[in-house]
């Protein structure tokens, strides 16, 4: 069984296979309590995934809604060959991809990155940050997301999943509904373009 999501973010509870199967069955039976439970368990994970992929919280609530609507409608077709969290992650990736495409067609005046608005995992910062360090961190993130904006949507997703999320080709292939060879090719070109921008060269 493919399991991509390695972290537990927010209140996402880890479900055992039996619990998960039961929850899915109850959701399929249109049981509201089960749908609420699924939403409650995975809402932070879904929001976190979308937030990190996109780099800002513009329309985040709408996107979270879209992910869960797709999930509830598509549960009938969920075969269980991946964990539920992985399947939801896959939906997140597709929704984010759609959003990135829309943004490229209709660029907005809203800044790309506002990741400073949310707290960083405390385990990663062993001491309080100085204002200078915080500013530096923020600028670095903005630079990364600006560089990501330069890439074509498919390349961007693949690069994000590999470089930032640290997923391997097989996992990425499942998430983007492609095959590992295609992913590897996309990643090859995406990395070149991305690091060129990061290094200060034009892609």
């Amino acid at each position: 069984m493919l399991r991509v999501v390695k972290r537990d973010t927010g209140s996402t509870a880890v479900l055992g296979p039996v619990d998960e199967a039961d929850l899915i069955e109850r959701c399929r039976a249109d049981e509201r309590a089960a749908q609420d439970e699924l939403y409650h368990r995975f809402r932070r994970q879904v929001a976190g995934n979308l937030y990190r992929v996109l780099g800002d919280r513009t329309d985040l609530e709408d996107l979270v809604q879209e992910v869960f609507v797709i999930a509830f409608r598509g549960l009938e077709r969920f075969r269980g060959d991946a964990r539920l969290s992985t399947w939801l992650y896959r939906i997140c990736v597709n929704v984010a991809l759609g959003k990135i495409r829309t943004r490229r067609r209709r660029p907005t005046a809203v800044g790309v990155v506002d990741l400073d608005a949310t707290p960083v995992d405390p385990s990663l910062t062993d001491r309080p940050e100085t204002p200078e360090k915080s500013l530096e961190r923020r600028e670095e993130r903005e630079r990364v997301y600006r560089a990501l904006e330069q890439l074509a949507p498919k390349k961007r997703i693949v690069l994000y999943l590999h470089e930032i999320e640290g997923l391997d080709l097989k996992e990425i292939a499942y998430l983007v509904d492609s095959n590992p060879v295609t992913v590897r090719t996309r990643l090859f070109y995406a990395r070149r373009e991305f690091y060129k921008v990061i290094a200060g060269e034009e892609p």
């Binding site: 972290r7 973010t9 927010g10 109850r26 039976a29 249109d30 049981e31 509201r32 309590a33 089960a34 749908q35 609420d36 939403y39 809402r43 932070r44 994970q45 879904v46 929001a47 976190g48 937030y51 990190r52 919280r57 985040l60 609530e61 979270v64 809604q65 869960f68 609507v69 509830f72 409608r73 990741l115 608005a117 949310t118 707290p119 960083v120 995992d121 385990s123 990663l124 961190r137 670095e140 993130r141 630079r143 990364v144 560089a147 470089e163 930032i164 999320e165 640290g166 990395r191 070149r192 991305f194 690091y195 060129k196 990061i198 290094a199 200060g200 060269e201």
Partner: protein, 475 residues
């Protein structure tokens, strides 16, 4: 050596290169300022990846998102149901046309196709206006209740329409949606008003719901959807409990039809049906006396007169009875449930009684209610009764105006009825004030009982021990 491409630096920081390769790149960077600059930039970006990966989700309006998700999912379900229905109609129409043509050909009466045949124009689709939307009003609420995913303080100031989702924790909510038509959602239940218009009311329930519905007009349907089972009624009072697999339908009066994809069963008054797997094969059995009593006690709260919900929401008001702990509450002599609660009443003066720990109702006070303003009555915990009953009983008997009492029973006595009695229950507080006085039993007619009660109520008590007791007064 040529300049180092930036992604090679990324490979180096990700540990994908051997030590020798890294050393070679570093050596080049020592002598090449532009490569050293690129290296630093890529390094800074690479070092920010773990921080980006650790970003947690921002706080969102989770309940609002949940409500919208549910709305979207249920809307899609409704649309699917409608389109399926239309599809069936279309298939039926085609089949009918086909059959007509086949019949005509078989009888030889089919008209020969002619070049001059005028083009058949499609009949214009009759535009039928959508049925008028219904609106419901919260008529009673106690405990934790969510409307569309939120606990709302203004539940009594809003009307509820199609798409509304009600959910109860340990609370209960009653909604009136017509004259003598209301529902009561029991604790731990969820209800969605899937369709709520003059043509059809369809309620999807998870948990337990008690419904009283006035007889529906021709063409009006009332459905309760419990999983893949449907409960349809005309006019009745009934209860549906559904927990995902098991469905129980209990009918207080009227007739209820329970159906699934394969069969349907009618449940008559004072009967119940338990469905575990399929309706087919499930048996209707009589309700026990206690079940019937329970069903009767769960009648939803209703306003006595119903006109238009949108007008009533402003012409009525919520009366909040704040009790200490859970205790039964009566408003104007009608038991409305366990307080603390809010109940919808019409403007005017309302008397509130609450039950003491022994279950005896005593007057908590009265409250003036004005339209569109929530009125509140706080009921304080009373002091525990003390043992002064004997003294108070003696005072009662000594204080009764026997002459007035005999006037009450004179007409009755003239007819030869003597040795009559009233059995009373009375509560007297430490100041000598009468808390309540109830006639609990008598062999007198009610008018005479009332006269006797007035005489007893005029007995004056001194300050002393508080007491609540029952006594028999022989007349």
């Amino acid at each position: 050596m040529r300049h180092v491409p930036p992604h090679r630096w990324a490979d180096a920081f990700a540990g994908k290169l051997s030590e020798a390769e890294v050393a070679e790149l570093d050596a080049h960077a020592e002598s090449c300022a532009s490569c050293a600059k690129r290296r630093d930039r890529v390094q800074r970006a690479s070092s920010s990846f773990p921080v980006l990966r650790a970003q947690s989700a921002p706080e969102l309006a989770w309940d609002g998102v949940r409500a919208r998700v549910h709305w979207s999912v249920s809307s899609a379900r409704r649309a699917r149901t409608r389109s399926t229905g239309r599809g069936l109609v279309a298939v039926g129409t085609l089949a009918a046309c086909g059959a007509a043509v086949a019949l005509a050909l078989a009888t030889g009466s089919a008209p020969r196709p002619s070049v001059a045949t005028p083009a058949v124009t499609a009949p214009r689709r009759a535009v039928t206006p959508p049925p008028a939307a219904l609106a419901g009003l919260v008529s009673r609420q106690s405990g934790q209740v969510m409307i569309d995913g939120m606990q709302r303080d203004d539940a009594f100031e809003r009307t509820l329409g199609a798409g509304t989702v009600l959910a109860t924790a340990e609370g209960r909510i009653d909604v009136q949606f017509g004259d003598h038509s209301a529902l009561s959602l029991a604790p731990g239940s969820t209800l969605e008003l899937r369709r709520f218009d003059a043509e059809q009311i369809a309620l999807a329930v998870q948990g337990t719901i008690d419904i009283e519905v006035a007889p529906r007009a021709a063409g009006q349907r009332f459905l309760v959807i419990a999983g893949d089972r449907t409960i349809e009624v005309r006019g009745t009072q009934f209860r549906v409990s559904h927990d995902g697999k098991h469905t129980r339908v209990a009918c207080h009066h009227g007739l209820v039809v329970v159906r699934d994809a394969r069969a349907e069963v009618a449940v008559a008054a004072a009967r119940k049906l338990d469905v575990d797997a399929a309706v087919e094969g499930s048996h209707v059995v009589p309700l026990s006396v206690s079940e019937l009593d329970q069903l009767a006690g769960a009648t939803p709260a209703m306003l006595p007169l119903w006109s238009d919900a949108k007008a009533l929401v402003h012409s009525s008001a919520a009366l909040e009875v704040a009790t200490v702990g859970k205790r039964a509450v009566r408003v104007d002599g009608v038991e409305v449930g366990e307080g603390p609660l809010r109940v919808r009443v019409m403007p005017g003066r309302h008397t509130v009684e609450t039950a003491d720990p022994a279950g005896r109702f005593r007057r908590a006070g009265w409250v003036d209610v004005t339209a569109d303003h929530t009125a509140r009555l706080a009921v304080h915990a009373e002091a525990p009764p003390t043992g002064g009953a004997a003294e108070r009983r003696r005072q009662l008997h000594a204080g009764i105006d026997r002459a007035r009492l005999s006037r009450c029973t004179r007409a009755f006595a003239k007819q030869g009825f003597t040795d009559t009695y009233v059995r009373i229950e009375i509560s007297i507080d430490d100041t000598g004030a009468v808390g309540f006085l109830n006639v609990i039993d008598s062999d007198l007619p009610s008018t005479t009982q009332a006269c006797v009660r007035e005489v007893l109520a005029d007995v004056r008590f001194h300050a002393g021990a508080a007491a609540t007791f029952r006594d028999k007064i022989d007349l």
